[in-house]
């Protein structure tokens, strides 16, 4: 795969930051040291992708070159306390953990009442744990993903969640990822590792927020989710940052036999957001749901790239992505499904539906199916249109004002994605936040 750099100064400045970081903190994660050195070399070779790169055709990272970021490091202190973050909790019973500028903030987290068999903690502290060593930086392949390489090279902390075999954590675990700036532009690597061991059941919500001076931020998130046999993971990403944020997010899921995962990516904040979801159904009888929602206005650019990789027989995947694009905003959906030669009896479905609310809004949708097996059931579809004028008139003819009628239709369109979330409390909390976002 070919890449070309944005311009020498920009890519080089990150390479310099990596060199500087390695010099000062090269032994911070001893168990991952050699991987981080490899990642640094890969990044300096790949640089930052431009729109000439096939996977970045519609989303330009040129904004990154406009800012001079300081890369956060282990010497930065956290300043948020519990009282600053209580409003971020999606539900009353949520177990809230805070990552502030890439660093695990234990004092702002609410670590009470973790069920037995569930470990949640700072990645820096747990990086030496044998279970973490077995998986950390082993799943999110950086060999041709320069931003994953950048994250891997600069990672010094983050969060680790381990659900031991047969444990069930019904209470949602929420990771609040906060970008907290004080007047300077920051480059923030965020690292998440979730291990669900055999038969474990866990609910994780990753939420993203902006605090402080709202200076430009490049937040670069890499999550690795390892799902063992018969384990079940419900995962939600809510991206609600301010428009000075450039957010790139790589989420890799590796599924063992008979496992289940359900992920919803809800994006309505951020200036530029790029999500890469990469789900590998690595053994038989896996079930995977991927849902996503874009709500964009002003000059926001929101890009969802998904890869569902069916490697083995008898698996099921279902994908629903929707977008409401207003103002001058741009949406991108690129959904790839691979069905490998051995993946007979695969059922894989994908649907992408978008509504453009203004003449200047745009949407690029690209569904891709690559099927190498011959006994499979697959479908995909993408539609982009305007608000349904007939439905709008129908509502108005019943006395509902035009503004309220539009809001009702947009809410119904978007709520469809959130309605798929299995956990009732989270679903209703997110529907409330959706209403607030649509009325903003």
């Amino acid at each position: 795969m070919s890449t070309s750099t944005l311009n020498n100064s920009s890519a080089e400045s990150f390479t310099q930051a990596i060199d500087h970081f390695r010099e000062l903190y090269g032994n911070h994660l001893p168990a991952q040291k050699s991987l981080q050195i490899d990642a640094a070399a890969v990044f300096s070779q790949l640089g930052i992708p431009t729109t000439k790169h096939e996977e970045w055709k519609y989303t330009s990272l040129a904004v990154i070159a406009k800012n001079t970021y300081r890369t956060v490091n282990p010497s930065d202190n956290c300043s948020l306390s519990k009282s600053n973050v209580t409003s971020l909790a999606l539900t009353n019973d949520t177990l809230l953990y805070v990552i502030e500028n890439g660093k695990f903030n234990a004092s702002a987290s609410n670590a009470n009442a973790l069920p037995k068999g569930i470990t949640v903690g700072s990645l820096a502290e747990l990086a030496g744990d044998a279970r973490v060593q077995a998986h950390l930086m082993k799943h999110a392949d950086f060999s041709d993903e320069s931003l994953v390489a950048l994250n891997t090279a600069l990672t010094f902390d983050g969060i680790v969640i381990i659900a031991e075999a047969k444990t069930e954590c019904a209470t949602p675990i929420q990771i609040a990822v906060v970008n907290n700036t004080a007047g300077e532009a920051l480059n923030i690597p965020v690292r998440i590792l979730l291990i669900a061991e055999k038969n474990a059941i866990v609910n994780v919500t990753e939420t993203h927020h902006s605090f402080g001076s709202k200076s430009p931020v490049l937040v670069n998130v890499v999550s690795e989710v390892v799902i063992a046999e018969q384990a079940r993971v419900n995962y939600i990403k809510l991206q609600d940052e301010d428009q000075n944020t450039c957010h790139v997010n790589y989420h890799k899921v590796n599924m063992a036999r008979d496992s289940y995962q359900h992920i919803s990516t809800l994006t309505w904040g951020g200036g530029l957001v790029r999500n890469n979801l990469n789900i590998r159904l690595d053994d038989v009888n896996c079930t995977s749901y991927l849902n996503g929602l874009t709500i964009a206005k002003d000059y926001q650019v929101i890009d969802h790239h998904t890869v569902v990789d069916h490697a083995m027989p008898n698996c099921y995947s279902n994908e629903l992505y929707k977008g409401i694009i207003d103002g001058h905003a741009q949406g991108v959906f690129n959904g790839k499904i691979f069905v490998r030669k051995d993946a007979q009896k695969t059922n894989a479905f994908q649907s992408n539906k978008n509504v453009l609310l203004s003449d200047d809004a745009s949407m690029n949708a690209k569904p891709q199916l690559e099927i190498f097996a011959d006994d499979v059931k697959c479908s995909h579809g993408a539609t982009t249109g305007q608000i349904d004028e007939e439905a709008l008139f129908y509502l108005r003819a019943r006395g509902i004002g035009e503004v309220a009628a539009r809001a009702l239709l947009n809410h119904a369109f978007a709520a469809d994605v959130i309605e798929q979330i299995p956990e009732e409390n989270l679903k209703s909390a997110l529907l409330d936040r959706l209403t607030a976002r649509l009325n903003a």
Binding site: D388, Y394, L395, R396, A397, R398, G399, I400, A404
Partner: protein, 254 residues
Amino acid sequence: MLSIKDLVASVEEKQILKGLNFEVKPGEVHAIMGPNGSGKSTLASVLAGREEYEVNSGSVTFNGEDLLEMSPEDRARAGIFLAFQYPVEIPGVSNANFLKTAVNEVRKSKGLEPLDSKQFLKVMQEKMKLVEMDKTMTQRSVNEGFSGGEKKRNEIFQMAMLEPSLAILDETDSGLDIDALRIVSNGVNALRDGKRSFIVITHYQRLLDYIVPDHVHVLYKGRIVKSGPKELALELEEKGYDWIKEEVDSSVNA
């Protein structure tokens, strides 16, 4: 209540209504009949405020106000209800939520307090009986997956909830079997209270066996060309529209 004078209206540059005059008083039920393409549905659309219909000249007043200046929602709030010929499916909006929003918007425009959930439920349960509607229909998305009959019952149910002073039924009988026709008609008749007025637009006389009108009008080529008592409908059923067409066309040619 409703007064239409010399109404000329067109859609996509094509003139459909060509000088229509029509008067409705409180409590009256008017049937408007006519052959296909005569302008029946255009009249309904113009009264409800569909934007793609352009009024070229003439006037429509409703309770003394210029109806043509009003937005569709203001017309509804003022008491006009259109039962759609083709009710629209709205996925993701439950019938109950939709109606609660509508009822409370109409109440707000009249300076009334909104109904709370409990009050709303009570009214809804009462009105559901009028059209023999079961509870699951209120929880489903508006008209989504409804049969033709269910959609028309839902229109009458909405009418019962919104309590308009003038209801326009646009070919409500089309696509209904005899049982659905009976249910829909019973619902309409239950809402006849001597003050509420109805304009029943239909192609066939059959509906008028159930909803008996005070006046019957024949619309042809964008004008009302004949008016009479309810017996006129029977005459049309028996003789068709050709004799009226001939009458009109020969007088125009003469």
